[in-house]
């Protein structure tokens, strides 16, 4: 089994509509019932981000805002478990349909 992160990509921080929420619930139930579920969450927008850089000898540098300004950004994510990318892509297609947003699929590297 491999794990994948589904990043939900959108151009605003508007919350899901009630129809979208209902579809997401159905999708989440399915992920749990079929053993794919690991974790999922929505994120605050880029405006709420704070960047920390503590690689230097000095005190950590704290910067207001995201590390890069983009028109679209990650507004939430799922972590799921799947046998391979084909299974993950099918789930991601359903997730994208449910939340009505684009989804980027990336493998979580195993140790």
């Amino acid at each position: 089994m491999a794990q994948y992160m589904f990043s939900v990509i959108y151009d605003s921080t508007d919350l899901a509509t009630s129809e979208e929420m209902a579809a997401i619930d159905v999708f989440n139930d399915r992920l749990q019932a079929e053993g794919h579920w690991v974790f999922a969450a929505g994120l605050g927008g880029p405006d709420t981000a704070t960047l920390i850089d503590n690689r230097g000898a000095e005190a950590a540098v704290i910067t207001d805002g995201p590390y890069v300004e983009t028109k679209e950004y990650v507004v939430g994510f799922w972590i799921i478990e799947a046998a391979d990318l084909d299974v993950a892509l099918k789930l991601a297609a359903e997730g994208s349909r449910a939340c009505n947003r684009k989804v980027e699929v990336r493998p979580i590297l195993s140790a």
Binding site: A2, A83, D84, L85, D86, A88, L89, V105, R106, P107, L109
Partner: protein
């Protein structure tokens, strides 16, 4: 070429995909499989001329590649390499019942043509892993730097491994869409050989069309029941049959109507026609490639261009438009309309097609306008077509037609 060289070349064609595929399945690692297969073939080149060709070259190559892989894994195990486990991946999943289409080579084809890979990557990977072309050969074919092509293939193998692109035949419900994806890769390889899009390249490159046909034959052996696979093979054969007649000695494109039909390859035509007839006899509704093959069968059936059965061609295009109502299909249909209902009707069909940036659209308009005696408009359309055409032979043809227009006016 000595006899042994020939045997090695033939073994390479016949066995490369089989060796890579079997090793990938055993090792769970495409990269290692490719490397060991290449080493096994290099050993054959070294040893066969002296030791003689083994009675079963394919089995010899697979065994040799296997031994090399085991040696490699042992060495790395001794060094206690961190990645050893990654190399020892095995098939944990129980094999899915795939019936008669389960073949390691088919797994290889589907993995190389996976939709999660960029199209140019699918093409490169298929030519390398299934076709057995070397990285320099593929780089040369696509006029890309060797290092860039090497990186593209390396990145693809890394993604396959990290993202776990599966090494298996897709689920039955996904199969039609995935086969369509494979056929698209094969047809793009063929087209790049048949009508190179880069003016710097030779107009027609037989090594790429031949490779595309070889790969399509392999896929057909693996999926003998699929009508579209047969259709694509027939289409390629019927186009390939006309290759020698398609570009003049002076490097100019010769249109279908003007080709020397005696220079067509009758053997390829006979094979293509047989495939088309078998599809018609199946009684199943044809897909896109089968219809295109049937259109080409009608063309190649005519001993003289004037004998072409245009009404049948138009009927086939009508079928195709229903299946695939893209502007390019409608453009080609309009060309058939011109033969039946005249250039004026055809011109009206072209009006409004969103193909302003496609050279063939302007070339078709130029030809119709010329036939209608509207020289000035025709010239403007030729100018635009020449501007947009990428293929050197096509450009030469268009320039000649445009200049004939000029001399006709001056007379």
């Amino acid at each position: 070429m000595t006899d042994v060289d020939e045997v090695i070349t033939r073994a390479h064609h016949a066995e490369w995909a089989r060796v890579v595929a079997a090793l990938t399945r055993r090792l769970g690692d495409l990269d290692l499989a490719e490397e060991m297969a290449a080493e096994a073939f290099a050993t054959a080149v070294e040893r066969w001329p002296a030791d003689g060709v083994p009675p079963n070259p394919g089995a010899w190559l697979t065994t040799t590649a296997n031994h090399k892989a085991i040696d490699r894994l042992r060495r790395e195990a001794k060094r206690g390499e961190k990645h050893r486990e990654a190399l020892m991946l095995s098939d944990h999943e129980p094999p899915e019942p795939l019936g008669d289409i389960d073949d390691d080579r088919l797994r290889l084809v589907f993995t190389c043509c996976h939709p999660a890979l960029a199209m140019e990557t699918r093409i490169a990977l298929t030519l390398r892993m299934v076709g057995g072309l070397t990285v320099p050969e593929i780089a040369h074919a696509f006029f890309v730097q060797e290092s860039a092509m090497g990186q593209r293939i390396t990145r693809a193998k890394a993604k396959i491994k990290a993202a776990k692109i599966p090494y298996r035949v897709p689920l039955r419900e996904d199969l039609p869409a995935r086969i369509t994806g494979v056929l698209r890769v094969l047809f793009l390889i063929f087209n790049e050989g048949y009508l190179a899009s880069d003016p710097e390249k030779e107009a027609v490159r037989g090594e790429l069309t031949a490779e595309a046909i070889r790969l399509t034959r392999l896929v057909r052996d693996l999926l003998p029941a699929d009508g579209e696979v047969a259709g694509l093979l027939a289409l390629m054969l019927l186009i390939e049959a006309r290759r020698a007649a398609r570009v003049s000695a002076g490097g100019e494109l010769v249109t279908l109507g003007e080709q020397d039909r005696g220079a067509w390859d009758r053997e390829l035509i006979a094979e293509g026609h047989a495939l088309v007839r078998a599809r018609l006899a199946s009684g199943q509704a044809p897909g896109r490639y089968q219809i295109l093959a049937a259109i080409n069968a009608v063309h190649t059936d005519a001993r003289d261009a004037r004998d072409t059965d245009w009404s049948q061609i138009l009927a086939l295009y009508d079928l195709l438009v229903r299946l695939d109502p893209t502007p390019i299909v409608r453009l080609n249909r309009a060309i058939a309309v011109a033969e039946l209902d005249g250039p004026e009707v055809a011109l009206a069909e072209l009006d409004g097609l969103p193909l302003e940036d496609y050279h063939a659209f302007h070339a078709a308009r130029a030809d119709l306008l010329r036939r209608l005696g509207r020289s000035e408009e025709s010239r403007a359309a030729y100018d635009r077509a020449i501007e947009l055409a990428g293929n050197s032979a096509e450009t030469a043809y268009l320039i000649r037609r445009r200049d004939q227009l000029a001399s006709a006016r001056n007379r």
